[in-house]
């Protein structure tokens, strides 16, 4: 690396080196210029032609159809030209029309042709609703034709795409509507099936069941009342019977049955107490009966005890055979012989006793009948309750299905109305093709090729031709470590003698030196003049 302390200044050194290498510099200049010119001449010329397409975003139909029909945008309002590009299918169509690719073209060649054409086209957005398609070709006429054709195809493809989109939207909505309809049908069938499987769930069933329940409840309460009445009646008949037995000969054995009756009543009371409170009417009644019986026993005293024991058998025969009543069961002893004895003994009170006995039997039978009926009605009520529970379950399922059905019906209705909107939109799209997008400005015939033109190459060649050799020279002077000046000899100043011996020219060199410089200058001038002439000619022809 050269340092300039004490040495020659760089400009002078450069001049010196320049003179030394003048022919190389001139050669470099001429070569680079020639390369520039040659490049310019052989550089493929490019002609650009463009088509402007206008996109109508809104028009009168939009206003009229507002909220009803939706126009499909051309990929939305183009945000930037970069968002848009020519589709592969469009390019393929253009190439096929020109015969550049065909059926027999290999995929690789096809791809190459497509990417070449894609590289030659460019979409820009000069205005809000304008799209310009630029095409670059090697020939002005072709460029114009291609630009026009691509513009047309672009419009066509875009509109087709839009229709497709609109159609697809319609199809989608239609499909959805059908799906919901099917779903609704399914739900309806399910409800029907559920109703068929569960007859209890017929319309009006709950009301009917409720009515029946209340009727049955009423019947039960009536029956219970009747039974209670019948029991009271029975009790009173029992009492009468006891009294009748007590006053006549029939009454002799009253002590025994009374005891049995008391025991039976007590047992009954105990049984009831297991299930009911003390205030339960039956318990109250039983207590009263027991109290009465005890009182009667107390009144009869110990005097009648002998009679009572003698008449025990007669009293025992009174209920008669076959009776399943409690009172009859309670009676013990021999019914056959005792009966005859009793009749024989009773005389006039017998009839009364028989009448009472008869009434008692009737009352008991009535009670039994009533109880049996009560059982039946109770079981009916239980069945009604079961039905009600089942109905509730089914009702729950049905109402769930019905809810679902209602939602589906809602959506279906909405979809149907949307489908109609989509249908109108689709028809609108195909009906007004020309209104929304059209070629605004057809392609022009380009007259001058695009930059860089040969002129620019020639100019660049000239500039580089001058600059590069000088730059290289500068680099050599700055970076070359070889000694060119005594100042760069690595020695302390004054320690040794330092001299420069200039080049001694030979006689030939002396003669040729001016000529050489002159020739260099002439070559440079001739090159510059040639370049200038070439540029002038090119400029004149607009190349």
């Amino acid at each position: 690396m050269i340092t300039w302390e004490g040495g020659e200044e760089p400009i002078r050194l450069m001049l010196k080196e320049g003179m030394r290498h003048k022919w190389r510099l001139v050669l470099g200049f001429v070569l680079i210029c020639s390369v520039g010119v040659a490049l310019g001449l052989f550089w493929p010329k490019s002609y650009a032609s463009s088509v402007t397409v206008s996109l109508q975003q809104d028009n009168v139909i939009d206003t009229l159809m507002e909220g009803r029909a939706v126009r499909t945008e051309v990929a939305g309002p183009p945000q930037s030209a970069g968002d848009m590009g020519l589709g592969r299918s469009l390019i393929e169509r253009a190439l096929e029309e020109r015969g550049e690719i065909g059926e027999d073209t290999s995929p690789r060649e096809r791809d190459r042709a497509i990417s070449t054409l894609a590289g030659r086209t460019e979409l820009t957005q000069p205005g809000e609703n304008l799209v310009t398609l630029h095409y670059r070709g090697s020939d002005p006429k072709t460029a114009q034709q291609m630009a026009n054709r691509l513009g047309e195809l672009f419009v066509e493809e875009t509109l087709q795409g839009r229709e497709r989109e609109s159609d697809a939207a319609f199809q989608f909505i239609d499909q959805q509507a059908q799906r919901y309809q099917e779903r609704m049908k399914g739900l309806e069938a399910e409800i029907e099936q559920l109703r068929a499987e569960h007859p209890v769930a017929e319309p009006g069933a709950p009301a009917r069941l409720n009515e029946r329940e209340s009727t049955l409840s009423q019947q039960i309460s009536d029956l219970e009342q009747q039974i209670r009445e019948a029991q009271i009646r029975e009790d009173s008949l029992q009492n009468r019977l006891a009294q009748v037995s007590g006053s006549g000969p029939g009454e002799v054995g009253g002590g025994g049955p009374a005891q049995a009756r008391l025991a039976q009543l007590r047992q009954e009371l105990e049984t009831l107490r297991l299930s009911y409170h003390e205030s339960y009417p039956d318990i109250v009644r039983l207590k009263r009966q027991i109290a009465q019986l005890e009182q009667q026993q107390g009144e009869q005293g110990g005097a009648s005890s002998a009679q009572a024991s003698a008449q025990g058998d007669d009293q025992g025969a009174a209920p008669g055979p076959g009776s399943n009543m409690a009172q009859a069961d309670a009676g013990t002893g021999d019914p056959g012989g005792a009966g005859a004895q009793s009749y024989g003994l009773a005389g006039g009170g017998l009839e009364l006793r028989q009448g009472v006995q008869q009434s008692l039997y009737e009352t008991q039978t009535n009670t039994e009948t009533l109880e049996s009926r009560l059982q039946t009605v109770r079981s009916q009520l239980a069945s009604v309750h079961e039905d009600q529970a089942a109905l509730e379950e089914v009702q729950k399922q049905i109402s769930e299905l019905e809810r679902s059905h209602a939602i589906n019906a809602n959506i279906h209705e909405d979809l149907v109305s949307r489908r109609e909107n989509a249908r109108v939109s689709r028809e609108l799209g195909s009906a007004e093709r020309g209104l929304t997008m059209r070629v605004e400005e057809p392609a022009n015939l380009p007259t001058t090729p695009e930059l860089p033109r040969p002129l620019h190459f020639a100019l660049a060649g000239g500039v580089l031709g001058a600059g590069v050799p000088i730059g290289l020279l500068f680099l050599v002077v700055m970076l070359d470590p070889r000694v060119r000046d005594v100042a760069h000899i690595p020695v302390e100043t004054g320690s040794v003698l330092l001299t420069t011996i200039p080049h001694a020219r030979t006689r030939t060199e002396r003669r040729l030196a001016p000529l050489s410089v002159f020739a260099c200058v002439m070559v440079v001038l001739a090159t510059v003049a040639g370049l200038a002439a070439l540029m002038w000619i090119m400029g004149g022809y607009g190349i």
Binding site: E8, R12, L15, K16, E17, M19, R20, D480, P481, R482, V483, R484, D485, V486, H488, I489, P490, V491, S495, V496, L497, L498, T499, T500, I501, P502, H503, A504, R505, T506, R507, R510
Partner: protein
Amino acid sequence: MASELTKIEEALRKLQAQSGDSSEVSTAVSTDTRPATRRGSADIGRMTTPETWSPAQLEKRGLLDFFGPERQAANAFRQLRTSLVHRAAESNFVLAVTGVRQGSGTSFVARNLAAAFALDPTKTSVLVDCELGDRTNSRMTPGSGGVRGLTDYLRHEEMRVDQLIQPTGVSRLRVIPAGTLTQGAGELYTSPRMQELLGQLRGRYPDRFTILDVPPVIDNADGRILSELCDYTLLVVPYAGASEARVGRAMDIVGADRLIGTVVNNDPGGQS
């Protein structure tokens, strides 16, 4: 100073031309401060030059026409000569001119420096060609190569120094050719006969400057040996032909005590 010298030299040349003879001018006109000894002057006077070379002949032999159009180069040699004389402690000396690499122009510098010494009518110079491979110096002597010279002298004891020294077409410049041996002279240079020769050359005439044209000191043992035999060494650096590092290495080889100067040769831009 230089131009004054040139005028005097030119006058002398004209005088020579008038006499029609190339013999030495006995009444020395010199600017040299050191007076020539009587014996030296007499010897100089006896020296003969076969034929003065014309500018074309000089150019053919790689010699500058000191009165020709290449004044810058000529003056550079004159100044170099003067500076060397000033720097040298002795009245005369043996100087090795060597390069930092092959093709440094060492022979050109040695030849013309010798010629520059010979410009002074009171001094003579002898150029000893030690570049065995290089034949450029052979043009200095009559005949084309094969002339007996230094290597022959070193090999043959019977040869005398006066048989060795050849006259040239330049006044007061003598040449000792390299000789018939073209390689493997290293051993010969280290012989006492070589030292003896140099002693004779320096000692015989106090006004005679002996200049050896020596191969490069780097990559050549001969160059180094010869450099060590001489009083001083002048290093020739070709313009844009060697890096600073290489120059530094060559200077280290020569040694600071022997290195008298460094010359950048063949500068295309003229004398700085």
